[in-house]
Symmetry: C2
Subunit: 169 residues, 2 copies
């Protein structure tokens, strides 16, 4: 009855990415209704030392993409962070969802003990598959999703908690 | 090799609550260094329609407490949201950690199919144990932890992503 790794990753990632897409649609609609350039949202930051909304959205996409690629070994699409508009970001979300949904359960289940190395400028972190998912990939995914949501809510986009939680399934 | 429910809940909740405690310590230190009343942070909000920091911290505590109580059936301490200071909030975090760490693995593992009902003003939501954890309790926990972190970072408290991620174990 314990939970397979696919169920620990895919449903939440897919639901969160769809929620993000719907949140960005609401941002576009709010910009239209209030006469604001929707792209003005993309440079918003919570602080000068945090990444702006555009990078938060890119990271909401990369976090599950890299997680699933590392666990499954299925090559992921490369994105060069060249998006400039909300429409561009919607394309990236759709591309990420298509990749995630293309990876079969059989490539993810059973990888709980796989060695995972996350490299970043200046170092690397080593995990086994299961603690990598629950202790790194999932908290990271929700960090950037929440931050994107918070930035748009602070900008006045009419959002509620349900927009963040999304729709299961 | 699949993941038991205890491992899906306790380690992440404990790490996140300890991270929140350390973040609040940094906020207190920053307030002292800059001559700000540390309690002035507690009323900060990302928008007028979102809860202030004090409520975000209370909810970071309640989310795992209620999750573990619902899964395990082990009675949880009652908190009446009477905190007024960061020291009060630190007490609540400590109390929550003590409860979480008192619940045995045997009371949580195997509850994947348990009927869970979450009631709120105006309605209720029904789940089975596993989708309740991965689709509700965990995203909710990280939402409020990220929002608390973002509010303090926006207020100038010197925080980085590692403060949010905390220390495993």
């Amino acid at each position: 009855m314990a939970t397979e790794l696919y169920d620990l990753t895919l449903p939440g990632f897919v639901r969160g990415l769809k929620a993000l897409s719907a949140i960005l649609d609401k941002a576009t609609a709010h910009a239209g209704a209030t006469g604001v350039d929707p792209e003005s949202y993309l440079v918003l930051r919570l602080s000068e030392t945090m990444n702006p909304l555009i990078k938060q959205v890119q990271t909401v996409c990369d976090s599950p993409k890299l997680c699933v690629a590392r666990l499954s070994g299925v090559a992921a699409p490369v994105h060069d962070d060249s998006e400039k508009t909300i429409a561009d970001l919607q394309g990236r979300i759709a591309d990420t969802l298509a990749y995630l949904q293309s990876v079969p359960r059989s490539a993810i289940d059973g990888q709980e003990g796989k060695d995972i190395v996350v490299t970043f400028p200046g170092g690397e972190m080593k995990f086994l598959g299961q603690p990598y998912v629950t202790g790194f990939a999932v908290p990271n995914f929700y960090f950037h999703l929440t931050t994107a949501y918070g930035l748009l809510r602070q900008a006045g986009v009419p959002l509620g908690k349900r927009d963040y939680m999304g729709v299961p399934g």
